[in-house]
Point group: C2
Chain length 407, copies 2
């Protein structure tokens, strides 16, 4: 049939299955929107189907395998053979984006990957299509639903990281091997993609520094609540003059920050620029049907018309010593002169204190402090000196804070 | 020059001026993104410039006049002459959308209007381009910044509507004649546009029922706070079987609702569908530079490639008797049997009570109740009977509540 558009689907896991079902359910709507009816040309499973055959019969290849091998080979071959590609694969785009964008541009085809970052939230489209002429200053957000679920549960119940992780695994919010999620690697791939698109610059995954949430203590969450702070694992890409920083770290947010109310497995992304102030977008971060919906949106866009493929416009340095504010948790001996000694170290390193509270007495005494912004190297130097003070009863614990306060 | 794209700008108010400046600042970025450099072919002011001359010299006409006369004539002529059009004009699209979409489709040109609804929030693009194959169940949100500023101030300060309105006028958040904003007509035009796009159905402005915020009392906000409720003026378009409802009304939201934290002059829109759960988008609702940015995003999209013009796919009935939950404020005589009489009237009309609190004693006694959802006709009937009860000391005050509670 000349009026159908043939889709070759690679992978038949949760998302692949949901996608095939969704195409069946929404074929009429796609035909109404585009004039062409979608048809599944074939589905490649691990144990079944032949890639070359599916490629030969498809106009658009939909890659839902995940991982880079064999996805990388398949997607590259599809692009070079003149097929449009839709992928939900963050690792593929983060690790091989440059090569794939070049191949798409040379072949004159589209490569779309909305579902690779922040699930159903259309952040890729908004950055690439609404804001391509906007000088974006910062793109950041909660891009991993597993860790946000865990942090929300820890804050709500007071339970330990390991207890909540076990619960998340039972509920299907965390995988049996959760290390990519809880260690920050998953979020690193996503923020690398967003940084590349927002700043039109190559970003390789090994330039992204990341920390996870494995060391977050329940009492940090409890003390921080007293300051009106809630903890999120953030991916943050930010322009600094001719450079950018691209990082993943757990971070406290004040009440009123647009990301503070995002709870459970939801994701949310903010884009800041002088000419737009800010846009915040939130929604489910994962889920078979939600991811399949984002993939179908990309398919419809390809059928509807052309769109430029991402191209590098600048080559910005990736910098690491940026300014941050920190929360600092110190278990100290309860005696005179302790606070003075600590504030002297901070002052000597030009780190100024915004607020300080002492909790407990005697062997349970602890200082919880929030700093103003300072270069991280200076705070790091101060932290090194504080760790050596003889009256500390445990290693200091430091967590970044976004200083912005809202009414 | 063959590689420039010539823009004819109609109107040189706040947005027009900001747009001309922004094109100058971001010409390099537009050229990088699209391969073509934007150039202002001419600017039509009320007292200066000739429309036909600007039309003849332009590839894209950017309509920033506002109102429908002469904007309607200019835009229609531009489309018929084969020019793409970008407009920030909600009244134009809401009142003359059908005619303009037809003209654009016949001429094979694009008509884009992201800036007409919710300022810098890319809700039009997301509905039209990310979700065209999604069966949207509901689109709703805070689409008027003036009223959200006023309600936020009233809730924060306890001041009266008229005092806060005067303050909003001083700060430039409300116009000298604020009636379109505070009466709900501005939000009605915006939700009519969103309903049309979300449901692919014609919606005329006179089918949109709207209420404003002029009658909101400070004590309603104070009592509602006790239930954890905050008040927003919402535009709501919702599917009901083969029909839709399209309405604007002040509405209480429980704490934890994604729209509850949206304060001051910000806008936010939610889209709900079974296959996406929900997407929430927020950002500044107005402002010269923000609106100009949304307009420039549309210009870049037109230069980047083609996109389908909105087309009617269905003709859905606009229904009015939908189910809602209500807050009810009653000033009553403080004596036995009063609550029983009121709950009997509600029960007779099959309206069930979710929570009730009595405040004050004697001449200051008042009952504040929140109902469960019921058809509005049934609640209206109950309200009519309650208003006639002899122990009421003032007319009852009812405000809708979105019942959904969040953790």
């Amino acid at each position: 049939m000349s009026d159908s558009v043939r889709l070759g689907v690679l992978g038949r896991g949760t998302v692949g299955g949901a996608f095939v079902d969704l195409v069946g359910e929404r074929a009429d709507a796609v035909e109404s929107a585009t004039g062409r009816r979608p048809e599944i040309a074939g589905v490649l499973r691990r144990s079944e189907g032949d890639f070359d055959e599916i490629l030969a019969g498809s106009e658009i290849v939909v890659e839902l395998i995940g991982g880079t091998d064999p996805a990388h080979d398949y997607v590259l071959r599809a692009l070079r053979e003149g097929r449009h590609v839709v992928s939900a694969n963050k690792q593929l785009i983060a690790q091989h984006g440059d090569e794939l964008f070049d191949a798409a541009r040379e072949a004159g085809v589209q490569l779309r990957f909305e579902a690779a970052v922040a699930g159903v939230i259309p952040v890729i489209r908004v950055i690439q299509e609404s804001l391509p002429a906007t000088e974006i200053a910062k793109v950041f957000g909660i891009v991993n639903g597993t860790t946000n679920f865990i942090l929300t549960e820890m804050a709500t119940t007071g339970a330990s990281y390991s207890d909540v992780l076990a619960r998340a695994q039972e509920l299907g919010y965390a995988e049996a091997d959760p290390s990519d999620d809880v260690g920050g690697a998953d979020a690193a791939a996503k923020i690398a993609i967003l940084a590349r698109l927002a700043f039109h610059t190559p970003v390789s995954l090994n330039q992204v520094s990341f920390e996870g949430i494995e060391n977050v203590q329940p009492d940090d969450l409890a003390y921080a609540k007293e300051f009106g702070l809630s903890l999120k694992l953030l991916g943050v890409a930010e322009r600094h003059g001719d450079g950018i920083s691209v990082r993943v770290f757990p971070c406290f947010l004040y009440r009123g920050h647009p990301l503070a109310p995002i709870e459970g497995p939801f994701n949310a992304v903010m884009v800041e620029a002088p000419s737009i102030t800010e846009i915040t977008m939130s929604g489910p971060g994962a889920g078979g049907i939600e991811t399949a919906s984002a993939v179908l949106g990309d398919v419809v866009s390809i059928v509807s018309g052309s769109a430029p493929v991402h191209a590098v416009r600048e080559r910005l340095e990736v910098v690491s010593d940026v300014a941050s504010a920190f929360y600092l948790h110190l278990e100290v001996a309860d005696r005179p002169g302790v606070l003075a000694a600590i504030t002297k170290v901070l002052g000597d390193n030009e780190v100024s204190v915004k607020s300080v509270v002492q909790w407990g007495l005697g062997d349970d005494a602890r200082l919880v402090m929030v700093m103003h912004e300072a270069p991280e190297s200076r705070f790091g130097a101060a932290l090194g000196e504080i760790a050596k003070l003889e009256f500390l009863r445990a290693p200091p614990r430091a967590i970044r804070v976004i200083e912005e306060e809202f009414v």
